[in-house]
């Protein structure tokens, strides 16, 4: 985990008794940062409304908050453990008794934080549903008697942020069976790999 000087400097404020009198203030700030990142509350509620953070200089508070947010995101990005975060805090001159509880808050929320991070990205259209219809195809302009069953399949997809285009195709019974078998083969192949 590589942090620039501005972040380590901001983290160092958390270990400074002149700025944050008690370890509880650091923990409260971390909890506030996590809840804002998880979109539970707003900064106004979480930071300004926190009793433990009353009386901290505003500029210092903002810097420490920014550094904490950066640390949490960066650590979640690299899937760091509680011990790693604690070590990073201690590198930034935060004493052990203060770094421990902050790292514990991180460890409790890492899954949620990683969820937030993984919501940025892109992917292929995702199949969410499939509709099918069986038609009996009797004749067309060229042939008087065809008389074949035809499946009409529609796959519903979703894309970044919402509904994607529907994919429609027709298939005879054999074709559909072939498709199904191919897909079954794919999912069956999971078994030998996973053992």
């Amino acid at each position: 985990m590589e942090l620039p000087a501005s972040v380590t400097g901001g983290l160092g404020l958390l270990g400074n008794k002149a700025h944050f009198a008690t370890p509880a203030a650091g923990v409260a700030l971390t909890k506030a940062a996590v809840s804002v990142l998880l979109k539970v509350t707003t900064e106004a509620e979480a930071v300004d409304g926190e009793a433990a953070l009353k009386g901290v200089d505003r500029a210092t508070l903002k810097q420490a908050y920014a550094a904490l947010v950066s640390l949490l995101l960066e650590a979640a990005k690299h899937n760091k453990t509680e011990a790693d975060v604690k070590a990073a805090l201690e590198d930034a001159k935060v004493s052990e008794d203060r770094a421990g509880p902050i790292a514990a808050v991180y460890a409790a929320e890492i899954v949620e934080l990683r969820t937030v991070l993984s919501s940025t990205g892109f992917g292929f259209p995702h199949v969410v549903d499939a509709d099918w219809r069986l038609d009996y195809y009797m004749k067309d302009n060229q042939l008087e008697k065809v008389n074949q069953p035809v499946y009409l399949i529609r796959l519903k997809t979703e894309q970044n942020g919402g509904k994607g285009p529907d994919v429609q195709f027709s298939a005879s019974l054999e074709e559909l069976q072939d498709l199904v078998n191919t897909l079954k083969d794919a999912s069956r192949n999971l078994k030998p790999v996973s053992i």
């Binding site: 979109k39 210092t60 899954v111 919402g162």
Partner: protein
């Protein structure tokens, strides 16, 4: 036996038995410990065997539980006889045998732990198979049941021992794209230096931080951009710092400037280069300022600063805007011309007239310029002529003046020549004097100059040496840091491996014990072999002796028997011989008997010891006590029964 006891106690403790710390061998096992251990071990082997770990007070209940436990052992395949008395009235050797068997039957989690793969790629493979296994078993979640594309589940991870409870880890699985958005980062500001004591923040900046600057997470205009923006900012800052450090190490150190000075100089260099370029392009330009081409070439000029060429091909947003604007303008103009034919004609006429006028004027201007150029050439020629004339007149004037003086001195030539000679000699003398004086002054100055120069040189080399040293130190610093990092990683990996391995704590005890047993067995076999050889040798000797005896006897017998018919004394001797032989036979038989009896005695002694070990007497006392208690309980029960009846 102590080793066995140790292993049994360690194993029982590891499956969760409460064995007091002061119990060191099976000899010290009380009935409670025996029952507790057996019940826990049975429950660990198979979950269907669930027995209370504490015995109740009622004798009949105790009896029933112990009988059930004995039956369970039998079901699991315990070969020897087993009954309730093994648990209730235990003796050391039987308990040891039972527990050895139970410990052997315990599920082998430790063997799984040792099979745990180590190494990076093996761990990765294990993680992949684990995840696939988990996913293969996990149920599918309906799209409507997911919150913004996330299936939330709880993964169950079994505890380190079968007894300890499993841990539940929330597991989120990315399914679908409903909640996913593309990466977009906006500019954010991370405040810095608010708590710095050595370099206090400027008042204005502090005020800005405290008042107007929003919290870092509130800075991006869209909420979903928060995380990418901050991560971008952090990595950008980190990369810039790294880049600067590299430049400073490569170029800055040699200049001998301080870091701030070097930074200033670099900035000035860049600025001056840019200003120069802007000026030159403004001069070169056709008055339209920065046109499209200029912007492009400016981009290429910027490229010349960095050899990475990040800006090539793409062009900046500015240039795109520029392009867009220009093309639009042209299109608009054409549209107007197409619609208004007349206007166009008139304009064309006007344009032609103007063009003609312009041509005429420009021809005039050209002519004028030509004339001006001609005049300029003439003027410069004339000026140079004038200069030549002036210098010629000056030399002539000087010549004239000296000649006038010579003519003035001519009437008294001799006297004047002498005077002149005297003047010359005095002036030469003075010159020599001055030269000596100057030498006197010059010598120390030169010396001083030399010493100063030398010291300057020395300082330069010194500083260069020091710079080289600093560079070396930095190099080594970096190397050491790198090494430390690698070692740290290795340490972490090893600790992780170690943690995985600590599960089989008694492994070493087992191996040590096995090795010892093997050694003992070897020794014993050697001993046995020795004894066997000795026995065989003895047997041989005995056989040999008895053969010799037989032969001697028969020979003597024959000899004496022959003479016995003739001689009376011989006959008596023969009788004595026969009786001697008989008695000796009896004696041998007696010796053999004695040996057998001794063996028997030893057997009996062993048996006695075994019986003594089984502490029959105290057990008997306990049994009688229990018997009395059972009787009492029975009486109480019958009294209750009769009372109810």
């Amino acid at each position: 036996m102590e080793e066995v006891d140790n292993i049994i106690i360690v194993s029982l403790r590891s499956i969760g038995c409460d064995i007091p710390d002061d119990v060191a061998s099976i000899k010290a096992f009380s009935t409670d410990i025996v029952v507790d251990g057996a019940a826990t071990a049975l429950a660990t082997i198979n979950e269907k065997y669930k027995f209370p770990r504490r015995l109740p007070n009622e004798m009949s209940a105790r009896f029933r539980i112990c009988t059930n436990m004995a039956n369970a052992c039998k079901e699991l395949g315990y070969a020897d006889d087993i009954g309730y008395h093994q648990f209730l009235y235990s003796n050391e050797s039987e308990v040891r045998k039972l527990f050895m068997w139970l410990v052997e039957k315990l599920p082998r989690e430790s063997s799984d732990a040792t099979a745990e793969p180590t190494g990076v790629s093996a761990v990765l493979n294990k993680a992949i198979t684990d995840e696939l296994e988990y996913r293969a078993e996990a149920p599918w979640t309906l799209p409507v049941a997911k919150r913004s594309g996330y299936a939330r589940r709880v993964a169950t991870i079994p505890g380190p021992t079968p007894k300890s409870p499993p841990t539940y880890v929330p597991h989120q699985q990315w399914e679908g794209l409903r909640g996913v958005h593309r990466l977009h980062a906006s500019v954010v500001v991370i405040p810095a230096g608010a708590g710095d004591v050595t370099k206090p923040l400027s008042k204005e900046l502090r005020k800005y931080y405290a008042g107007a600057l929003p919290y870092l997470t509130a800075q991006p205009p869209v909420r979903q951009d928060v995380a990418p923006s901050i991560l971008e900012k952090v990595s950008a800052e980190y990369t810039a710092a790294r880049e600067w450090e590299e430049i400073w190490n490569k170029e800055g150190m040699d200049t001998g400037l301080s870091e701030a000075e070097f930074r200033d100089r670099k900035r000035q260099f860049v600025r001056s280069k840019m200003a120069e370029y802007v000026r030159s392009s403004a001069l070169k330009g056709d008055g339209a300022g920065f046109g499209r081409n200029d912007a492009d070439s400016f981009a290429s000029f910027l490229d010349s600063f960095s050899d990475r060429g990040l800006r090539n091909a793409k062009g900046s947003r500015f240039t795109h805007a520029e392009k867009f604007q220009f093309t639009q303008d042209e299109g608009a103009a054409a549209a107007v011309a197409d619609t208004e034919e007349e206007l166009r004609k008139r304009r064309e006429e006007e344009l032609r007239a103007l063009q003609e006028r312009l041509d005429a004027l420009s021809a005039e201007v050209d002519r004028m310029e030509h004339e001006i150029r001609n005049f300029n050439v003439n003027t410069s020629q004339l000026e140079s002529n004038l200069r030549e004339e002036k210098s010629a007149s000056a030399t002539k004037e000087a010549l004239y003046r000296s000649k006038v003086k010579v003519f003035e001195l001519l009437p008294e030539a001799d006297k004047n020549i002498e005077l002149l000679q005297g003047l010359v000699s005095t002036s030469t003398k003075r010159l020599v004097e001055l030269a000596t004086k100057w030498e006197a002054v010059r010598a120390p100055l030169v010396l001083e100059y030399r010493t100063l120069k030398e010291s300057q040189d020395g300082r330069m080399t010194e500083s260069r040496r020091k710079l080289a040293q600093i560079k070396e130190f930095r190099e080594s610093m970096k190397q050491i840091a790198e090494e430390a990092r690698i070692k740290d990683e290795l340490y972490r990996q090893l600790t992780a491996e170690y943690e995985k391995m600590t599960k089989d704590i008694n492994r070493s005890i087992y191996t040590r014990r096995i090795l010892e047993i093997v050694k003992n067995i070897k020794k014993q076999r050697e001993d046995i072999d020795k004894v066997l050889i000795e026995t065989r040798a003895l047997q041989k000797e005995i056989n040999h002796t008895s053969d010799v005896l037989n032969r001697t006897f028969s020979a003597t017998d024959e000899l004496i028997f022959k003479d016995a018919k003739k001689d009376d004394a011989c006959r008596r001797a023969y009788k004595y011989l026969a009786s001697l032989h008989e008695h000796c036979n009896v004696l041998i038989a007696d010796v053999e008997n004695t040996g057998k009896l001794l063996n028997e005695i030893r057997d009996f002694e062993e048996k006695l010891e075994q019986l003594n070990q089984q502490n029959v007497l105290p057990n008997l006392e306990r049994i009688t006590a229990d018997y009395i208690q059972v009787k009492k309980e029975n009486q109480a029960l019958s009294a209750k029964l009769s009372g109810r009846a």
